[in-house]
């Protein structure tokens, strides 16, 4: 309860400052203005919420799936790992905001560039963690599987994948919020739909209550993804002693 009380306190404080000092609405709206926007402009907000939601989900799925499959390949082929890991590291060093315009030029103005940006932003942490997770099994466990004449596929499905889950979820929790950032950044560049486009439009037109409401919606999306990922982690990692917490 203390966090909720603190949040309410801050919002009330914000409202008081705006009212007492008479801050103009276009510089900073009061909480009441923002709440009103959800009522009055709810249609625009929802219309632009769904594209961002879809892009973030699609980017999350695509980026993480490719990262996981690549990690599985790397663990089974040290040649592949030596050849492609440095390239993956290089891709990671390019600032995503800088590649976004390039992707828009390449892929047009539809969903594709946004999904690719969201996927790119998820990809690297998952790749790194997944490779580490798949390799986290003890040499003794590998020897046990060898004594049992288990093949690579059995080692992967019976041992490696489960062992990697704690590492994978550490990355997925990061990805669950960054995929929303990726989608919004993608929509900043010449897009005419999505929360990102709405943010740009509201800023240029000094519609700050709408701007604030859009940002709150984006944050809510990220928090929802994060919560869902955490719940999935709890459920899949029930066997861990710390999972009880």
């Amino acid at each position: 309860m203390p966090p909720i009380a603190a949040a309410i306190g801050l919002i009330v404080g914000w409202q008081l400052i705006i009212t007492v000092f008479g801050v103009p609405q276009f510089i900073a709206p009061s909480p009441l203005d923002v709440i009103n926007v959800f009522g009055e402009r709810g249609d625009i907000l929802w219309l632009n919420f769904w594209p961002t939601f879809m892009e973030a989900v699609a980017g999350f799925v695509v980026g993480n799936t490719i990262a996981v499959l690549l990690a599985i390949w790397f663990v089974h082929s040290s040649l592949a790992e030596r050849a492609f890991y440095p390239i993956a590291v290089f891709i990671n060093t390019i600032p995503i905001i800088a590649v976004a315009p390039i992707l828009v030029l390449l892929l047009g103005n539809g969903f594709a560039p946004k999904i690719v940006i969201a996927a790119l932003i998820c990809f690297f942490p998952t790749l790194v963690n997944m490779v580490r997770g798949l390799k986290s099994i003890s040499p003794q466990m590998l020897e046990l599987m060898r004594v049992l004449s288990a093949n690579q596929r059995e080692v992967l499905f019976k041992v490696r994948l489960q062992s990697s889950l704690p590492y994978l979820f550490a990355a997925l929790k990061i990805a669950s919020t960054t995929c929303v950032i990726g989608a919004i950044v993608g929509e900043w560049i010449g897009s005419n739909f999505g929360l990102g486009a709405l943010i740009i439009e509201a800023t240029y037109n000094f519609r700050s209550p709408l701007l604030y409401a859009t940002v709150i919606l984006g944050a809510g999306l990220a928090v929802t993804f994060f919560t869902l990922t955490t719940l999935a982690e709890r459920w899949l990692l029930k066997w861990r002693p710390s999972a009880a917490i």
Binding site: S138, Q140, M145, V147, L148, S149, E154, W239
Partner: protein, 272 residues
């Protein structure tokens, strides 16, 4: 008690009708490349009788684990031959002739005790084994009846090692290779597991090779004790442990037992 020089024929007592389970002939194991080679085992020849319980003793780094791993097809022989019931280690591994128990229980933490025991039946063609033991009965045999659904982290170190022994027995292996299985346990747990291992050995008739660096453990468990010397690993002695077949922990206070441990300690001093 007889101290025999370990030569090809010395392991089986003259006139014995016992079959040989494992035969190691002039085997050497070398690790590493040209410059920093380590000779872990050098020209080792030894026979292990079918149904016997042999303890393997020696200073640390003398090649005890390497000898077990050689039999288990986990390391190749640089020279010499190993035969397991007339087969190469690789064939024996595929036939599930042996099972390995490590110092660490090596359980899958997300699997319950019973599901860990089932693992050997689910990989490496283990599903085709028809004559396998019942995992439930094995857990009862190792004293874990009622804890079938417990996860490894809910069990004590001793219990985890019991699960790993049950897992090793599930394919009814002819040979159990145990590498310091109780080395990480406290003394009371270790004593109890020693007694239970003897009981399991008598009930199942499995051939057991048991590596330890504890002299009392080697003497208490072994029908015979193989003493290795270090750098390079060689067979120093292969001695019969002249104690009654039925052993209780109290035997460790007897004069015979103390005589045997004194002799083993003597040999170990020579070994290092």
């Amino acid at each position: 008690m007889a101290v025999a020089e370990a030569t090809a024929g010395a392991s089986a007592p003259a006139g014995s009708t016992q079959d040989v389970a494992i035969s190691v002939r002039n085997a050497s194991v070398v690790f590493g490349e040209d410059d920093d080679q380590v000779v872990a085992l050098s020209d080792v020849s030894v026979d292990f009788a079918d149904g016997g319980l042999v303890t393997i003793l020696g200073p640390s780094g003398c090649g005890k684990s390497t000898l077990l791993r050689l039999v288990a097809d986990l390391v190749p022989a640089a020279e010499g031959e190993v035969s397991v019931f007339g087969h190469t280690p690789e064939e024996a591994r595929r036939r599930r002739d042996f099972a390995f128990v490590f110092q660490d229980a090596t359980l899958l933490p997300w699997r319950s005790a019973i599901d860990n025991v089932r693992l050997p039946l689910q990989v490496g063609g283990g599903g085709k084994i028809e004559q396998h033991a019942s995992p439930e009965e094995l857990l009862a045999l190792v004293g874990l009846k009622g804890r079938e659904q417990a996860l490894p982290h809910e069990l004590s170190g001793g219990m985890r090692q019991r699960v790993s022994i049950a897992r090793a027995l599930v394919c009814r292996p002819k040979i159990l290779l145990m590498d310091e299985p109780f080395g990480a346990l406290d003394e009371i747990t270790r004593d109890k597991l020693n007694e239970e291992l003897l009981r399991i050995w008598q009930e199942t008739g499995t051939t057991i090779l048991f590596v330890t660096h504890s002299i009392p453990e080697a003497a208490f468990l072994g029908e015979k004790t193989l003493v290795l010397s270090a750098h390079p690993g060689r067979v120093l002695a292969y001695v019969d442990v002249d104690l009654p077949h039925e052993r209780a922990l109290s035997i460790r206070d007897s004069l015979e037992f103390v005589t045997i441990t004194a002799m083993l300690r003597d040999l170990l001093e020579k070994a290092s």
